[in-house]
Amino acid sequence: MNDAERDPDAASDVASDVPSEADPDAALLARVARAEPAAVRALVARKLPRLLALATRMLGDRMEAEDIAQEAFVRIWKHAPRWREGEARFDTWLHRVALNLCYDRLRASRDEPVDELPDSVDPGPLPDARLEAHARDANVRAALAALPARQREAIVLQYYQELSNLDAAAVMGITVEALESLLSRARRNLRASLAAAPASMPASPAQPAAPHLPNTRPRTSDDT
């Protein structure tokens, strides 16, 4: 049995994921279970960008990430009629499914020798600004790819997917303390990559922490 076929809800045993409020996806999922076309379109619009971002950052390959997203939606269609609110958040379950699919791919690609470099599309000449952005993206992606898989998973879930610490720990099947340890190590490694790629650093403001404290206060959800 591969990872993706294991019960994603098992992660809840480690970090409690009992939602304190109604699952925001529950009503839509109930309509998807009835195969309502509008609900299907709405769920795809809501979840596909997140799934694609997650898989792309975990695998570093857009095409493979698209395969993961498609497979994850097949799981959604299959499980939607049996979904029961209150056990785990749908978004948490979906992240676990997608990550299991990613790990299946990572294991398979590790086992298969790479005969040739994958085809890449020649982007043609790019304006300077786009070249710089392209280089920054490539540097960040390379730094993420260089992380050990569990550290990458932690930073992708917490920073990019913006899961709470409880949700991220639940998805990973670990305690919050273990999550914080992985995050700290990931950020330390990323900082080393950042130091090695000074050209890709964003322009450093004169007061970099100014937006984060009073007069220099850190941003909170109330700020948005």
Binding site: L52, S164, H212, R219
Partner: protein
């Protein structure tokens, strides 16, 4: 909130307080307010890393991928009206199948009965006129079948 815990939070979650643990956010912000120099030094390094990570734009799904995924969803099959109530059809897909099967069987039986009636009517209409009805089926060759008894006993041959 201790200095060590504030440092641990920033080390793990970065400089953006929206990413900090919800249960500790207020206390951490209060500590940062009260110890601005210390907090500033810790946040400065993390903010730089956050800004660098933020330069990685998330990939956007294209229309073809979206279409493929929508097409992979189960087809919507509204309950047939007039044959079965929406409630029954919505509750149980098996009930829909049962009702569909019953309808097919009913239609089949109706067809068989109608066919038998038409054949019988045609045969009777093509028979001899009233008053000359033969006494036995063997006297009316048009009504005889291979399962009918025959009066010919071939005894003369």
């Amino acid at each position: 909130m201790t200095p060590d815990r504030f440092r641990a939070i920033v080390d793990a979650y970065g400089a953006d307080a929206r990413h900090w643990p919800a249960g500790e956010r207020a206390a951490a912000l209060a500590w940062a307010d009260a110890h601005q120099d210390e907090a500033h030094a810790l946040l400065r390094a993390s903010a730089q890393l956050d800004a660098w990570l933020a330069t990685d734009a998330p990939p956007q799904p294209d229309a073809a991928l979206t279409r493929r995924i929508i097409a992979s969803a189960p087809a919507w099959a509204p309950a047939p009206r007039g044959l079965v109530s929406r409630g029954v059809a919505a509750r149980s897909p098996r009930a829909r199948v049962w009702w569909s099967g019953a309808a097919l069987i009913g239609a089949g039986l109706a067809g068989v009965l109608a066919g038998a009636f038409v054949v019988s009517f045609a045969l009777l209409a093509g028979g001899p006129p009233h008053g000359t009805t033969p006494a036995t089926a063997s006297d009316a060759p048009s009504l005889a079948t291979s399962f009918d008894g025959t009066t010919a006993d071939w005894s003369g041959e």
